[in-house]
């Protein structure tokens, strides 16, 4: 069905690969994840192949993205956080390129599935928890103890814990919901154009409005695709800041 706005999120399996009772089948989602990684790696290898003192265009894009993430990381997590730079940069690049590849017609958007974004955010929060305990030991638990009078603590500690547990959830929901809603909206409005144009001249005239909206929404979607990758990276930095300085 060309007009089904949900159809684009369908997972189709290319081949199955049964290993120990678990199916590691290769799906279109896996294909686009591999394509995302290949695009990022290929681009960065190309950009750094000719390390000119005066960067050419490709190199300058790579340098700008480095600067961009390094600046964000330094501002939110402090310069100690720079040891997480490879992690944050990989996440940012993966989400950004995954979102951008999804903007091609007929391409699959990996970040429109909550399992993908949830896995990414669980990775982030695991790094925060493991590194937090490694670096601070038990003092990491001070994160859950706000500086308030002691009689308020029984109420506030559960709230702090829930607020911490909510983080990976809100991180994954935000990315997934934005991509899903954006792509559905785009598809619905583009579908209006096709449907209306079947009704002769009046339909053609009426189709101008959804057509203009589709153009505007496409631009908005590109903005959202970048923005969500940026937000994901920023929040990762903020959570890493907690791992570095609990108690605050």
């Amino acid at each position: 069905m060309a007009n089904d706005p949900i159809h684009q999120f369908q997972i189709s399996k290319f081949f199955s690969l049964e290993l120990g009772g678990v199916d590691f089948g290769f799906t279109n989602s896996s294909l686009f994840m591999a394509a995302t990684v290949a695009t990022v790696a290929g681009f960065l290898i190309l950009a750094t192949s000719r390390r000119g003192l005066v960067p050419n265009r490709v190199q300058s894009i790579a340098e700008m993205s480095y600067e961009f993430i390094a600046q964000t990381l330094r501002n939110t997590a402090g310069s100690e956080g720079m040891k997480f730079f490879p992690f944050v940069f990989s996440l940012f690049a993966f989400v950004l390129v995954g979102n951008m590849l999804g903007m091609f017609p007929y391409f699959f958007t990996i970040t429109s599935h909550i399992i993908v974004t949830f896995a990414l955010s669980m990775l982030v929060i695991s790094v925060v928890i493991i590194y937090g305990f490694m670096k601070n030991g038990v003092k990491f638990l001070k994160l859950f103890v706000p500086s308030v009078p002691a009689w308020l603590l029984p109420l506030l500690i559960p709230i702090e814990i829930i607020s911490f547990v909510a983080r990976p959830l809100s991180l994954s929901i935000r990315l997934f919901a934005n991509m899903l809603a954006g792509h559905i909206t785009l598809k619905v409005f583009a579908g209006f154009v096709v449907t209306l144009s079947a009704f002769g001249f009046t339909g053609w005239a009426g189709a101008v409005l959804p057509f203009l909206l589709t153009v505007a929404l496409t631009a908005l979607e590109f903005l959202v695709a970048f923005l969500q990758a940026y937000v994901f990276a920023t929040l990762t930095c903020i959570y890493l800041h907690d791992a570095l300085h609990p108690g605050h």
Partner: protein, 125 residues
Amino acid sequence: MSDDEKQTGRVAGDTGANEAELAERFRRLEEKLASGGHGAGDGLGSGERSKPSAIGQAFRLSSELVAGVAVGFGMGWGIDKTFDTTPWGMIVFLFLGFAAGVLNLLRATGQAGGGAATPNSGDEG
């Protein structure tokens, strides 16, 4: 000048350094950046960045509250299931979850201190 820049580039690109050495290098680089007067404003102009981050904030807030309530719901449901306390766990934890959602919301906008989820507070405190 040209030597300096080459060195800076190599410092940024090297990955196989141990942590102490890395920290030392960053400290030196920071000094160099501070004295050289370039760095912060380069690359992306500040005006270019302030706009996306404002919209980014708006996108961010929408899911904070929902996630808090959802986690409260999940925890309440789990506690009811394990300790057979229906419906008290759900009632208590839904309220706690709502409070946590509001707390996250206020932290995201920088209106509540305490925890570290305040992006604008930086390193101080």
